[in-house]
């Protein structure tokens, strides 16, 4: 099979290895119940950041409304699992949430994705707020501002890990395909892309819908892991938090998003003892990181495993590059 080439094999080993390490640490008690919450939060943020990166990093469209789509997934799953408190209910919640989020993204995406840059950002912000306000006003179904509680604890860190891996693989499959390249060409130069027959709105919309669906998946995990959800968990600040992970990791870099979600999650644990001083330190860290490393940890690059394998080719490549200059 062509899927089982060397690079993919190494990635697989890496994923299994990190799963083993986490499992070991939990069995040994190094990760206790409290740290497990951090772990799941990191995994949820990872899914959110990967999805937003598909929108911002691949298609170059600036969305500020990611939390709205997360809310759709969280509520769909919350409502369904309260009716059907089993894994069937959860699976249904993920599917229904994903479908609703995808449809909403499609409906708002097709007209708004024509907008440029900051105007699109504001339109998506508005859409997310409208989603939140609709949820606020859906009566008993969503229980208004108080939100839903008593959602069955169905998610475990296994599920979070599994779904994070699935989302990462799909995002990578997307990036390294012809549709992915077409999407990236929209980010690079819309007019040139159009001149090559690339229907730019279509690829922006595909990226936007993919981002929305993955955000809904993250919301589903959130609802069934924490058991309590309310509209204000999914406000503008939440969208900003996700954006921060994407920018910190490097816009366009999937491995960057994975690393950034982890680093920021761990940083949060270390700042915990500082109490209310924590947010001040977080803010200062954020400003300093942007001033000293504005392109994020990875820039647009990926952590490149195949380049470790093909060291030789790479040095050859360098040589050639010199010749060209």
């Amino acid at each position: 099979m062509r899927i089982l080439n060397k690079t993919n094999g190494i990635w697989m080993i890496l994923i299994v290895l990190s799963f083993g390490l986490l499992q070991g640490a939990i069995l040994l008690g190094l990760i206790d119940a409290f740290y497990e919450i951090t772990l799941v939060t990191i995994l949820i943020n990872m899914i959110l950041a990967i999805g937003l990166n598909v929108i911002i990093g691949f298609s170059g469209q600036f969305s500020l409304g990611h939390a709205g789509f997360m809310a759709i997934g969280a509520y769909a799953t919350g409502i369904l699992t309260k009716q059907f408190p089993n894994y069937g209910g959860m699976a249904a919640g993920i599917v229904v949430g994903g479908i609703i989020a995808g449809i909403v993204a499609l409906i708002v995406g097709i007209p708004t994705l024509r907008l440029k840059g900051d105007y699109l950002a504001i339109a998506t912000l508005g859409v997310a707020e409208i989603i939140r306000i609709i949820i606020l006003n859906m009566g008993d179904l969503t229980n208004g501002a108080a939100g839903l509680s008593g959602i069955p604890y169905l998610s475990t860190w296994y599920i979070g890990f599994f779904l994070a891996v699935v989302v990462l693989i799909f995002a990578a499959n997307y990036k390294y395909s012809s549709v992915g390249r077409a999407t990236i060409s929209v980010r690079e130069d819309e007019i040139a892309a159009e001149s090559l027959g690339i229907h730019t709105t279509r690829y922006k919309t595909i990226a936007f819908v993919m981002g929305a669906v993955t955000a809904a998946i993250a919301g589903s995990i959130h609802a069934t892991y924490f058991s309590v959800i309310s509209p204000d968990q999914f406000n503008f600040m939440k969208s900003i938090d996700i954006l921060i992970i994407v920018v910190f990791g490097g816009i366009g870099s999937l491995t960057g998003s994975v690393i950034a979600a982890t680093v920021l999650g761990v940083l949060n644990v270390f700042l915990q003892p500082f109490g209310s001083f924590r947010m001040i330190l977080y803010a200062i860290a954020l400003i300093s990181i942007m001033i000293f490393k504005p392109s994020g940890l990875m820039g647009t690059k990926e952590l490149n495993i195949s380049s470790f394998i093909r060291k030789k080719d790479k040095s050859e490549n360098k040589k050639r590059e010199e010749k060209v200059r």
Binding site: R2, N173, Y174, S178, V179, A192, E194, S195, L196, T300
Partner: protein
């Protein structure tokens, strides 16, 4: 009918008529020169024909299976899909992508796997990737760029960037190719080589090529027909011999140099 017929095409920018009642016909497999002083409206004409700008008035019709198809109001991507490709006066490569990726994107519309098979890595995906890579490399080889496929486009020397842009346009399998000053910034040797290459691909791919070019010797030697634009109007058109003798052209353009 001709392959492409333009009638009374006009484009106003505010008070300026950048293109004014232009009539133009392109036949199959011919090489047409488009000349005129700076600001004459040559690039604007390309932008109108490729749907980048919307005409103020006039018609553009493309022969599709022997019936005329109006291009007015069509999007650039649709027009590209009908077989019209172009390069840009100010190079518009995907600068941060590799040479190969640039060409692969040109091939996407006709050869790319759909989203579903890409996400799920079906057999169709792998087949299509293989085919695309093969075709992209063949096209690059035509322009002697195959050894540079891994280079990031912005790191290429200027002449290579111009040529890569042509390769990328060719990847869409066009019937008509608009080249906006492809030799700009090249030295005479490079420019001569490029001219030969353009003639070659025009023959090999059975293309209609419209060439904007300032070097009169090139235009006079290779183009079968020439349009002369001035102040947005067609000042003259005809074979190189006719253009050479045209008094208007001599006054407005050739004489001025």
């Amino acid at each position: 009918m001709s392959l492409l017929e333009v009638k009374n095409l006009t484009k106003n920018f505010g008070g300026l008529a950048a293109i004014s009642r232009v009539n133009l016909k392109l036949e199959e497999n011919e090489l047409v020169g488009l000349i005129g002083p700076n600001g004459a409206g040559k690039t604007t004409l390309f932008n109108l024909l490729t749907g980048v700008y919307i005409p103020s008035s006039g018609s553009i019709e493309l022969k599709q299976k022997d019936v005329p198809l109006s291009l007015i109001g069509k999007q650039t991507s649709q027009i590209a899909g009908f077989g019209i490709a172009r390069t840009f006066q100010n190079i518009r490569l995907f600068k941060d992508l590799t040479v190969l990726e640039n060409v692969l994107i040109g091939l996407h519309n006709s050869r790319g796997a759909n989203t579903f098979s890409s996400l799920f890595r079906t057999k169709h995906f792998f087949d299509s990737e293989e085919l695309m890579h093969k075709e992209a490399r063949e096209l690059l080889a035509l322009f002697d760029l195959e050894s540079k496929e891994e280079y990031v486009a912005k790191n290429l020397p200027y002449g290579d960037q111009r040529r890569l842009e042509i390769v990328r346009a060719l990847a869409t399998r066009p019937k008509i190719l608009f080249l906006d000053e492809p030799a700009a910034g090249m030295n005479p040797q490079e420019s001569a080589d490029l001219t030969k290459l353009i003639l070659r691909i025009q023959n090999e791919f059975k293309l209609t090529v419209v060439l904007i070019e300032h070097d009169m010797s090139v235009v006079m030697n290779v183009c079968e027909r020439i349009y002369v634009l001035e102040h947005g109007r067609v000042l003259a058109q005809g074979t190189p011999q006719e253009i050479r003798k045209n008094k208007e052209v001599i006054r407005a353009y050739l004489g001025g140099e």
